[in-house]
């Protein structure tokens, strides 16, 4: 465990060193690719400035709201579609058509419909992050071992009770993996929409404003770094939840 952390740190430090040397080598202009020392110094200043912090909060908030809404829609829908085969078949064609549309392509449409407020980026993030969650949940439901269900049935449990006590716990690790995939997609969509639509603040807008005209790349990179850290922390938190509550899933896989 410690070794892994140490190696991770070494890898990261190596990356920063190469970046630093490259930026200072004169191959590219230093304003266009500022070295990490400059970026971190800028970031330290930015984090003390209330407008920047407000933008970070705006992005994080939109992201969290999007993930919660996407989960609230996709999980129950997935449970329904996964447990009623005829409904699943009826919806498959529509789902297969909607799913491959790159959500970024819908940004102009949603801006026309909803304006440039936070609801636009939340809507797009919800739309994009719905799919992996929905598919993971449907898959989990269809993949359940019939012996698990038969066992519960043989003991006289009702259908709804089997859903809550057998099918849901069985699906939980798949759903959690879906949430993690969805969360990373939602963050991409929130920041992309901020970048393209503007108006509602957020890190994407910071990046756009600072980058316009090849201006302040130190700010662009600072904001990018913050976005990366948000994504990393979000995933780490979800992973921790998964290991704490759904650790049995890893264990049985390892035992097979």
């Amino acid at each position: 465990m410690l070794r892994r952390v140490v190696r991770g740190v070494i890898g990261f430090a190596g990356f920063l060193l190469v970046w630093e040397l490259f930026s200072r080598s004169g191959v590219v202009r230093e304003e266009f690719l500022p070295p990490p020392t400059t970026v971190f110094a800028r970031l330290a200043v930015l984090l003390t400035e209330p407008p920047f912090v407000a933008d970070v909060v705006a992005t994080v908030l939109a992201w969290l709201i999007a993930v919660v809404i996407a989960s609230a829609i996709a999980v129950p829908l997935g449970l329904l579609l996964g447990s009623v085969p005829s409904v699943a078949a009826a919806s498959r064609a529509l789902v297969e058509f909607l799913r491959p549309i790159p959500s970024v392509a819908l940004i102009p449409l949603v801006i026309v419909l909803l304006g440039v407020g936070p609801e636009t980026k939340i809507t797009l993030a919800v739309y994009a992050s719905l799919w992996p969650l929905l598919f993971n949940t449907i898959y989990a439901m269809s993949e359940i071992d019939p012996v698990q269900v038969d066992t519960a049935r043989a003991f006289g449990l009702s259908r709804s009770r089997i859903l809550w006590t057998v099918q849901l716990p069985h699906a939980a690790p798949f759903v959690m993996t879906g949430v993690r995939i969805s969360a990373s997609i939602a963050l991409i969509l929130v920041i992309s929409t901020e970048l393209l639509a503007g108006g509602s603040g957020g890190l994407g807008q910071v990046i756009f404003d600072a980058g316009a005209g090849g201006g302040r790349m130190d700010i662009v990179l600072s904001a990018t770094l913050v976005a990366g850290v948000i994504g990393f922390l979000g995933n780490a938190a979800l992973e921790k939840v998964q290991r704490r509550w759904l650790g049995w899933d890893d264990q049985i896989d390892a035992g097979r």
Binding site: V147, F155, T165
Partner: protein, 257 residues
């Protein structure tokens, strides 16, 4: 539990076909038999003869296409509350997200208060020699111990009839012998009525009060044999006795006929 000596399970003219129409394959042709209270009856037959289908029909997991199943006087439609099933696939039948104790407690959750559930779980785990193991997860146990958990779960439920579908088929010979003796001991102590399906001829004779031999698919009852061995059975002595050998030979002839 003290049931009056009488008929616990009556299966009459049971039929099961998969699908409908004249070409639908018939798994169970026409099966009638009875299990008396406190009895241990084994159903044995050639592979694929429909033994498991028969058990699933008795359990109410499948609806029969003909005939009826009567459990202590009441006709069974759907799943009866008074049954517990032990499946062959213990690793698939136990829930990995629950502890051993949680698995045993699982079917009791809606039926009993917390204190009584705890007492029953502890008692059942003790019966199968897993006292003190309740906090473990099923996948931390060996196959034989996992099947003990399944048996404990069925015992804790205190069913009128315990159905067992090839319960020892996935275990190694030594573990199988241990669990056969465990089953006989528990059953002697608690007068549990058991209907057990197996393809193992020796096992059927060793465990039973009566052996029901099924024909090839579509299944019918070829013969019912009373097993007149002493109640106390022993893996070495019983299996070496002349009566055991005579019975196993007769069952083997019927199964292979």
């Amino acid at each position: 539990m003290t049931e009056p000596a009488g008929t616990m399970l009556a299966v009459s003219r049971l039929q099961h076909r998969f699908g409908s129409g004249p070409d639908a394959p018939t798994a169970i042709g026409d099966v009638s038999f009875e299990v008396r209270a406190g009895e241990l009856v084994c159903i044995v037959g050639p592979s694929g003869c429909g033994k498991s289908t028969l058990l699933r029909t008795v359990a109410g997991l499948l609806s029969p296409t003909g005939g009826e199943v009567v459990l202590h006087g009441e006709r069974v439609t759907g799943v009866s509350e008074d049954l517990a099933v032990v499946f062959q696939d213990y690793s698939r039948s136990l829930y990995p997200w629950l502890s051993v104790a949680g698995n045993v407690e699982f079917p009791l959750r809606t039926r009993l208060g917390k204190a009584e559930r705890r007492a029953r779980v502890a008692e059942a785990l003790g019966m199968v020699g897993l006292g003190g193991q309740g906090g473990k997860r099923p996948w931390q146990l060996s196959g034989g111990m996992q099947q003990r958990v399944s048996i404990a779960r069925a015992l804790a439920y205190r069913p009128a009839l315990m159905l067992m579908d090839e319960p020892f088929a996935s275990l190694d010979a030594q573990t199988r012998a241990d669990l056969e003796d465990l089953l006989l001991r528990v059953r002697a102590e608690h007068r549990t009525t058991i209907l057990l399906v197996t393809h193992d001829i020796d096992e059927s004779v060793y465990l039973s009060d009566r052996v029901l031999v099924l024909s090839k698919s579509p299944a019918t009852v070829l013969k019912t044999l009373d097993v007149d061995l002493p109640v106390e059975r022993d893996q070495v002595v019983t299996r070496g006795s002349a009566e055991f050998v005579r019975l196993r030979t007769e069952v083997a002839k019927l199964v292979h006929s």
